[in-house]
């Protein structure tokens, strides 16, 4: 089937994407292998020696092994808030798609508003403080859930509408209570969209920088993006460390991606595009 034209096109596409997408990453990786002097040149050259381990060690041990704390915190925040997001958003999407009441309009409005309105930071801090949640991982998790709910709900709702209602009813006849219907029937069937949610939200939350900056002060609460920011001026003359840091914190999203790579498109088909 492959004509000569399509081979040439393929090679051209590979070359173009290599230049545009791969080279910046190679640059990051090469920088992470260099020593301080060579990295200061900021050029695309082969490392003079193998300094990756030194750089990694340097980055990880900076500021009292802050990177370790940060990885633990970020992972915890990401895993818990994505789990909560999935359950809460699917619950809302489920009832919203299934039950038509006069509240639906209001709820849809609130969801859209959540997508559009930029969060009011200082009143939020004041409120978290009142709830004794300011500067705690719990507070941060709830913030991430609140800010990302609308998008997750939208993804779910469209898909739930395509699940036949008869399934719910069959389950009820089988003796299921609403929670059984939700957790045993609906949630498993939402898997494709859940994958999309996991990928998009976990990457977003793991990479979030602004919110932890405000709501999660304190060294013991550092997150990985904050380490990058904190180290930025400390490493301002040490590009090798800066890029080692960037490389290091890109690994977890990469793992998520490799895990779900094949299923992402399916989830998008199911959720986002049906609208």
């Amino acid at each position: 089937m492959r004509s000569r034209g399509s081979i040439i096109g393929g090679v051209a596409a590979i070359a173009a994407t290599f230049v545009v997408f791969v080279i910046p990453f190679l640059f990051i990786i090469l920088m992470a292998f260099k020593d301080k002097q060579q990295s200061a040149l900021r050029d695309f050259s082969w490392p003079n020696g193998f300094h990756l381990w030194d750089n990694l060690y340097e980055v990880v041990k900076t500021r009292n092994w802050m990177m370790i704390t940060a990885f633990i915190n970020s992972s915890l925040i990401t895993v818990v808030s994505v789990t909560l997001l999935i359950v809460l958003a699917a619950m809302v999407g489920f009832v919203l798609a299934r039950r038509k009441t006069r509240w639906n309009g209001l709820i849809e409005f609130l969801i859209l508003a959540g997508l559009m309105i930029p969060p009011a930071v200082v009143p939020t801090i004041w409120l978290l403080q009142g709830l004794k949640l300011f500067g705690t991982l719990h507070g941060m998790i709830l913030i991430q859930v609140a800010y990302n709910l609308p998008f997750s709900i939208i993804l779910y709702r469209a898909f739930i509408a395509t699940i036949p209602r008869e399934l719910d009813e069959a389950a009820v006849i089988d003796g299921a209570r609403p929670l059984d219907v939700f957790f045993r029937i609906i949630l498993p069937l939402l898997w494709p969209v859940t994958v999309t949610n996991i990928v998009v939200q976990s990457v977003g939350i793991f990479n979030d920088f602004t919110n932890p900056l405000y709501y999660l002060p304190g060294n013991q609460n550092a997150t990985v993006q904050l380490t990058l920011y904190n180290f930025q001026s400390q490493f301002s003359t040490a590009y090798n460390l800066l890029f080692t840091n960037i490389m290091l914190i890109t690994i977890p999203p990469l793992i998520v991606f490799m895990f779900f790579n094949r299923q992402i498109v399916a989830g998008m088909t199911a959720g986002a595009v049906k609208g």
Binding site: F27, R98, M116, P123, W126, L142, V200, N207, V273, G275
Partner: protein, 296 residues
Amino acid sequence: MTAAAAPALKMQRRSLYPGWFYLPAAVVYSVLFLAPTFASLYFSLTRWTLFDATFIGFDNFAQFFREPFLIQGLVNTVIYAVVTSGLKVVIGMALAVMLTSQIMARGYLRSVIFFPVLVSTIGVGMTFTVLMHPTQGMINQALALFGIAGPGWLVDPKLALFSVALVDVWKGVGLATVIYIAGLVAIPKDYYEAARIDGATRLQNFIYVTLPLSRPATATVITLSFIGGLRTFDLIWAMTKGGPGFASDTVASVIYKQYQAGFYGLSTAGNVVLFILIAVLVVPLTMFLNRKQGHE
């Protein structure tokens, strides 16, 4: 829900879709998002030092619109949103068409294009700030090999906003492509076969089948990236901080600067302005996109 009549009670008791399913989400959302948002409406009418707030009516809004660069910031915001969402639509669609065709190394291409989505905005911003350095940056050094004097990507006031927008597209086009791939895969083969029987060329195939039938995907890409573009802050902040001077300021960065300067009331008023801007642009846009969809 207030009706005390027996049937209403029965309905509540037995509903398959209980209202309390909304409850956990509603509590989190109301307390941590809605309540502060409503509080901010009040604070936007005050001069607020965090320690105390003095009610000053609409002065903040008047002040905000007197900000010398707000108007340019507004224009920049719209330009940024239009450029990024436009490019994401065009490039995302093109890449998706390419990746759903019989091209070699599809898995590689798909992964590579999606990969930037995974990197944090701060990391991307820092990397490209280095790459776009006017003299030592890799981009201009590469151009120099071909005898081209590269521009000052981030330091030329005419170019800075577009340079950041390009990086935004670089980072975000993978998501747009995936959405488009999903949209294209969902188009039934019958249409292409029917078109082929009608003697359509590849180009006609694209114009008359792919383009109209991928409209839901387009709507999703436009809505997401347009709202994202209007609210964009991280990347601009990581790369130019609105500079040089005020050349790449957007509403979000102006708000942030007011916030940084401790003008909390003013900044909160800016938040309200941004919200109104988004509502004014996005609500008609989504209505337009959805109405078109309805016609299909």
